[in-house]
Point group: C2
Chain length 471, copies 2
């Protein structure tokens, strides 16, 4: 890693050349670089914490004068118990992951002695813009090296001292390894971002991590593909046959486990038939956690009837805008999904399969989510597998859940070992993105002098065999 002082263009060109060396390094060399990084960060803990303390002093002053939020201050502090060790063990976790490079997922015999294979390879050069969290630089450097990608890093300015010290420590450690110095570069000043975003000739992918303002800015100012999410407007829909206990557990966790997270739920959709059966229990549990509810008319009326007057005070009227808002706070919008007479209700036998009336309600819930949501993660609470499967097929989101909290949308929880970010893109990678999302593939064709002109339908032409081979 180097702390680059060169122009953005020179830095990006150097990264692009380093990427070619890194791309062909065997995994043993890439893993050795991670070991070197880990050991150097361990050996230089005091110097790094001292640099972090300088950042903290400045940030505390800024916070006291009201120029910096408490949450930024908290994220900045690398001396909090366990944080430094987590950073170190994170590097070893990445080292342990399977090599994402060189995986063959398609092999075809086009003809005798003419074999095609598709093999995973690094994307090239990543530009990663992230918040003022000092440990993230080590995590991202590890991910980039493991996946064979060069990376240009730009972190939040409040961490400047920490970043510079960490970059120097890592840079020195990498010098003894096969990873080229320009493979991971830290840029310092914010004003270089616009120039870097213009370098689509050298940079293959931008990953902005941070608030939606940053992500929107990046998307609006570059032709380079952007991986990430601007919004996380997740919804939970309580269907007609939602189990009350499941509904309470899922909604409370989805809203309250970490309200500032992108996978926290913001909207609660409630089937009309359960306004007075399931919703009150859910609302009571949310109110007990301090959540304000912004309700449409029907749900508000139902809650006014069932809640104690002291609780009902926290129930407010929703505006249309509330259903388009990512609150990132203890606030939840509640909307009623109209119920319809169910064709089979007169002959119901306890079967929880879908019926025509319920289908209409389900479709309205799905349409609401597809229109107002952010294609991140959405959940249905229902006892009906038919309703759940329909919801999961028709909701156009990266994560579609049945009776489980939206908070599970996370690379660690999915078992990916680590996470680059969560993508609401419609191409390449969707949902939590692990190492695999930092790879692409190439086609290798091995022949013996074959020409395309030899093959065809006509007389005397060879025919393709197109035999699938085991990868």
């Amino acid at each position: 890693m180097s702390l680059t002082e060169s122009t953005p263009e020179a830095a990006a060109r150097a990264a692009s050349i380093a990427a070619r060396t890194l791309a062909v390094l065997p995994v043993s060399d890439r893993n050795e670089a991670l070991t070197a990084m880990h050991d150097a960060l361990l050996a230089n803990k005091q110097a790094i914490l001292a640099a972090n303390a300088r950042d903290m002093t400045l940030a505390t002053q800024a916070s006291q004068s009201g120029h910096l939020s408490q949450s930024v201050l908290k994220r900045l502090d690398l001396s909090r118990p366990g944080k430094y060790d987590d950073m170190l063990s994170g590097i070893l976790d990445v080292r342990r992951l399977d090599d994402p490079i060189g995986k063959i997922d398609l092999r075809t015999r086009l003809d005798d002695g003419l074999e095609l294979e598709r093999v995973s390879c690094p994307i090239g050069v990543l530009l990663i813009i992230f918040e003022a969290r000092p440990e993230v630089i080590a995590n991202i450097a590890a991910l980039a090296i493991k996946s064979g990608n060069a990376a240009i890093l730009k972190g939040g300015k409040e961490s400047s001292n920490s970043f510079e010290t960490i970059a120097t420590v890592i840079g020195t450690a990498l010098e003894a390894t096969k990873v080229p110095n320009a493979a991971v570069q830290l840029v310092k000043t914010r004003d270089v971002i616009d120039q870097l975003l213009g370098l689509d000739r050298y940079i293959d992918l931008v990953i902005p991590r941070g608030g939606n303002e940053l992500v929107r800015y990046v998307k609006d100012h570059t032709k380079i593909p952007v991986l990430g999410h601007a919004d996380g407007l997740c919804s939970v829909y309580l269907h007609r046959d939602a189990d009350r206990d499941v509904a309470v557990k899922v909604v409370v966790d989805a809203k309250c486990d970490y309200p500032a997270a992108c996978n926290a739920a913001e909207t609660l959709l409630v089937h009309e038939d359960v306004l007075r059966t399931v919703l009150p229990a859910v609302a009571e549990a949310l109110l007990a956690k301090g959540v304000s509810l912004r309700c449409d008319e029907k749900s508000k009326a139902a809650l006014k009837e069932s809640l104690a007057p002291s609780s009902a005070v926290l129930v407010q009227d929703a505006t249309e805008e509330d259903f388009n808002t990512e609150f990132l706070d203890l606030v939840m919008a509640v909307k009623t999904v109209p119920g319809y007479p169910s064709a089979s209700q007169s002959t119901t036998n306890g079967d929880s399969g879908s019926v025509s009336g319920d289908d209409t309600s389900l479709e309205l819930a799905i349409a609401h989510i597809n229109t107002h949501g952010s294609k991140h993660t959405d959940c249905i609470v229902t006892a009906s597998s038919a309703a759940a499967e329909k919801f999961m097929s028709a909701v156009d989101s990266a994560g579609v859940y049945w009776n489980a909290s939206t908070r599970f949308a996370d690379g660690m929880r999915y078992g990916f070992g680590t996470e680059v970010g969560i993508s609401t893109n419609k191409i390449h990678s969707r949902g939590p993105v692990g190492l695999e999302g930092l790879t692409i593939y190439k086609y290798k064709l091995r022949g013996h002098g074959q020409t395309a002109a030899e093959y065809g339908e006509g007389k005397g032409k060879r025919r393709y065999k197109h035999e699938k081979l085991a990868p």
Copy 2:
């Protein structure tokens, strides 16, 4: 399909709603729509050819007055032998392909009763801009429907009459199927393109098919991801140990089989040691096909010695710009790759493994391609598997070939059954893109009321199982 008269925004919004219906149609319904399309195009052949004849009349006039090239005229003509039948059988070919939707490629038990799966699904709404080739509209409509994607189509203006008639025929046929009318829409006027390119709210992917001017224009005017290639600057490198016959076959096919194609070779790199052994045979074969050679100093000197004076006339001096040019014509740039004394040459035993001097030449060839090429398809001709493997690993192109013509870079030839286009992107899809490239995935999580807060490292917390299950 509908021939839309609405505003671009209304058309895109309608496509986005239709996409949701199309996305959940079973493959039987999608295949039935293809059958209906096929039958209607067969039944209305005369009307369609009559419309095409009107396009041909106008285009012939434009061609005679010098406003239209012969090649556009040729592509426009749907009455050429076999062309109509090819269009019809193309639809049946797509129908026969495996359903790309609903494929599960990852299943993980996060915990008992909490299972994650990753399943392929359509991307959403495609905007496809293509040249004046009437049969392409049927092909693309078939691909979009099969992959469950809605599509907005804009074809070259010279085909207007053909397109409108085909769109009406297909639209009428689809009315009797489950595919919504707005799922495939044809827009007519060119001036709507800019507006459509601004509708990233509704359109998920743009696929421009046509010249690099069009592709560049599209890339410069949209935030929507673009799938395709602006350039196809492919190279063939003749290594020190290239077999002469293989070199002749591969280079002649790569250059001459179809010079206007994106997978035709434009640059020939020649190891210094074979300038007087392999190159003359290759050059003679190329010259016999009418190819002009633009040579650097060393290769030109070698050819002047070995070629007959009458042939040598076609050997010209290369400029630096020639090595950055996609000629799309019977022109090829020739560059010498310096040879170095090979460490093992004194003790050579016929083994064709790589040696240090050759490594340097190989690296120079690779560096030339990575710097001047367009990351499309590049080939090495060599007897050495070590050199070939190094070339294929280090050249950063969608296709990397050993002893095979670059012309094999094609979806049909790869056995994909059909092709949406060839991508030189570094994310999502690379190389020839088949139906698979029109899909993405979503994560489905099925639980029983689990919450993220239940899991963790602390006491009393549940641990994730992360058991891999067979997909």
